[in-house]
């Protein structure tokens, strides 16, 4: 039998694409992730949780004593610590997701050659990507759970809506992770990875994390409002005090759209990322 088989390329039907790129066994990638977490040094796992807590204690309590209160959602005055706590949660969700989808993926792809081993089995690029994004979200979930408990324990939340910060942290992480993986497919060296950090630092500093954006001229404010982190910070802040307005839907919508676009983008780039 020397049957003539059409060479189906991605894009000629979702079903054909899945048959070519997935064995439907992403679960095995997740199983491997959990096995690694169990073997991993717990100091490292825990340290990811402490970073935002340290920031909160230093900035919120130390600097807070020099700043006093700040205008929170809806204009009500809240303590400086209560102002930055939700912002730190959004930032930590972003940082974790970006790290897992760029640096971590790049390292496993080009240096540890882990994905080469996986792709020599029936697993396809789709399974590997889906499994890894799931693991990134799981880590994000653990950290969000811990940090939310800390800020609630410190009395920095005033509403039961604060519980919704945990799933929202996952949504923020999904948005950044899906985009990050697509971007990683264009990288060839570690040095290029530095530029991601250089881009993330100003976003962290200016997205109304540590101070309101009203200090900037209007044009700069519009620019910041176009960036994803600002929407994440504002959304988290509104949830922490249970104050909602029309913009809440805008912030939420921003991340839904970003995730959908990110997943689409990453899907298109999967073959370029993993198969060369």
């Amino acid at each position: 039998m020397s049957a003539v088989v059409d060479r189906v390329r991605p894009g000629s039907g979702l079903n054909a694409w899945l048959v070519a790129n997935s064995s439907g066994n992403a679960r095995a990638v997740v199983e491997r992730g959990f096995k690694v977490i169990r073997n991993q040094n717990w100091v490292i796992v825990l340290s990811g949780f402490f970073e935002p807590v340290f920031y909160l204690l230093s900035m919120g309590l130390g600097l807070g004593s020099l700043i006093g209160t700040v205008a929170g959602p809806g204009g009500q005055q809240i303590s400086y610590a209560a102002f930055i706590a939700p912002a730190l949660l959004a930032t930590s969700a972003m940082n974790g997701a970006i790290y897992d989808s760029t640096w971590n993926v790049f390292f496993k792809l080009r240096f540890a050659n882990l994905y080469q081993g996986m792709l020599a089995t029936p697993l396809g690029p789709f399974d590997v990507a889906a499994g890894e994004i799931f693991m990134a979200l799981f880590r994000g979930f653990l950290y969000a759970l811990g940090f939310t408990a800390v800020i609630a324990g410190m009395g920095l939340t005033t509403s039961w809506w604060a519980l919704a910060m945990i799933p929202v942290a996952l949504l923020i992480a999904l948005g950044f992770a899906s985009l990050g993986m697509a971007v990683t497919s264009y990288f060839t060296t570690f040095q290029q990875m530095d530029w991601i950090n250089i881009a993330l630092l100003p976003m962290f500093m200016f997205s109304s994390t540590l101070f309101p954006i009203s200090v900037f001229p209007e044009a700069v404010q519009w620019f910041i409002m176009a960036l994803p982190l600002w929407h994440g910070v504002e959304l988290m802040r509104q949830l922490s005090v249970g104050h909602f307005e029309a913009s809440t839907w805008l912030h939420l919508g921003y991340f839904v759209v970003m995730s959908v676009l990110g997943i689409g983008f990453t899907t298109r780039r999967l073959r370029s990322l993993f198969l060369r």
């Binding site: 039998m1 020397s2 049957a3 088989v5 059409d6 060479r7 189906v8 054909a16 048959v19 070519a20 790129n21 997935s22 064995s23 066994n25 095995a28 990638v29 199983e31 491997r32 096995k35 690694v36 073997n39 991993q40 540890a112 050659n113 882990l114 080469q116 081993g117 996986m118 792709l119 020599a120 089995t121 029936p122 697993l123 396809g124 073959r271 993993f274 198969l275 060369r276």
Partner: protein, 306 residues
């Protein structure tokens, strides 16, 4: 039905033609070799068979399926030993085998005893709970080969399987591969060691610069492209080149190399005698059987190991 059919298979990276329109077939149970120096396109061909490198053009069928269209199904039949070990350094030795089996969707009830058998096969039973980083180079290689067998593959792709192994370990591995072959497993081996190709392969293609330059069984290739014996003589760095013209009359064919001159003849000892009688006294001399190395030299003018 052939297990692998490649026709005009091509892979280019920009200007570089890594694999340049090669065609070949592999029949079930056969032990098939790709022989050539580094950069000849052997590994790229292997990765295209698994569908982990996308080809530029040509057709390729593995068990009648296109690996780019039905990758998961194709790879479920394959065991892959890559040129560079890519063990999971975050897992221990035994877990490497078990997790790899999970990627094939195999149940733990099958994998646990299978992992123990394979550790024994690779002589790594004592190391089963060791971190991969703490294994020696040879142990890692054996673990990689054991890992490729976890799904009981019908086709085994071995990319430079014995590079980095000591001579004893190589012979043990060759023995194990023979046993798999006896049980009907198709072996596809790339190598730049001629002795490995001669030991393992029923049939092979010789590759250079992405092209197939010859095809046949080892014995057949030697018969076609070389003489029965080879005489190697050394006269010292300066004189080798100077004496080439005088030596030419003693052999069917002559290959001057930087450090020695090869004289191709059916009877090496007699040729050496003739050379001596002519008043030429080499510093050292050696008579040996022709090998695939000589075939490659003849076909490309270059040595296999660079």
């Amino acid at each position: 039905m052939p297990v692998i059919e490649a026709s005009e298979l091509t892979k280019t990276y920009g200007e570089l033609h890594a694999v340049d329109a090669i065609s070949f077939e592999v029949t079930p149970g056969e032990s098939f070799g790709l022989l050539g120096p580094n950069g000849a396109g052997k590994s790229t061909t292997m990765r295209m068979i698994g569908g982990t490198t996308l080809r530029t053009s040509g057709t390729l069928l593995v068990n009648g399926l296109d690996p780019e269209v039905r990758g998961p199904e194709v790879r479920a039949n394959l065991g892959v030993v890559p040129q560079q070990d890519n063990l999971d350094v975050e897992l221990r030795a035994r877990d490497n085998l078990i997790m790899y089996g999970r990627y094939f969707g195999l149940p733990y009830s099958y994998l646990r005893p299978r992992a123990d058998d394979l550790l024994e096969f690779a002589q790594l039973t004592e190391k089963s709970n060791e971190k991969v980083d703490n294994l020696s180079g040879g142990m890692k290689r054996r673990l990689t080969i054991a890992r490729a067998l976890v799904n009981e593959p019908r086709i085994l792709l071995l990319d430079e399987p014995t590079t980095g192994l000591d001579p004893q370990a190589r012979h043990i591995l060759w023995d194990r591969l023979f046993r798999l072959k006896e049980q009907g497993v198709t072996l596809i081996v790339t190598t730049h060691f001629m002795d490995e190709a001669e030991q393992l392969c029923d049939r092979l293609i010789v590759m250079d610069h992405g092209r197939i330059v010859a095809e046949g069984s080892p014995a057949d290739l030697i018969r076609r492209y070389s003489t029965r014996e080879v005489l190697e003589v050394r006269f010292g760095s300066d004189r080798n080149a100077a004496l080439v013209d005088r030596l030419r009359s003693f052999a069917d064919r002559i290959e001057p190399l930087p450090d020695r001159v090869l004289l191709y003849a059916d009877d090496g000892e007699r040729t050496l005698e003739a050379v001596r009688k002519d008043g030429l006294v080499p510093l050292t001399s050696l008579v040996r059987r022709s090998s695939l190395e000589d075939v490659f030299l003849r076909l490309t003018g270059r040595s296999l190991i660079d």
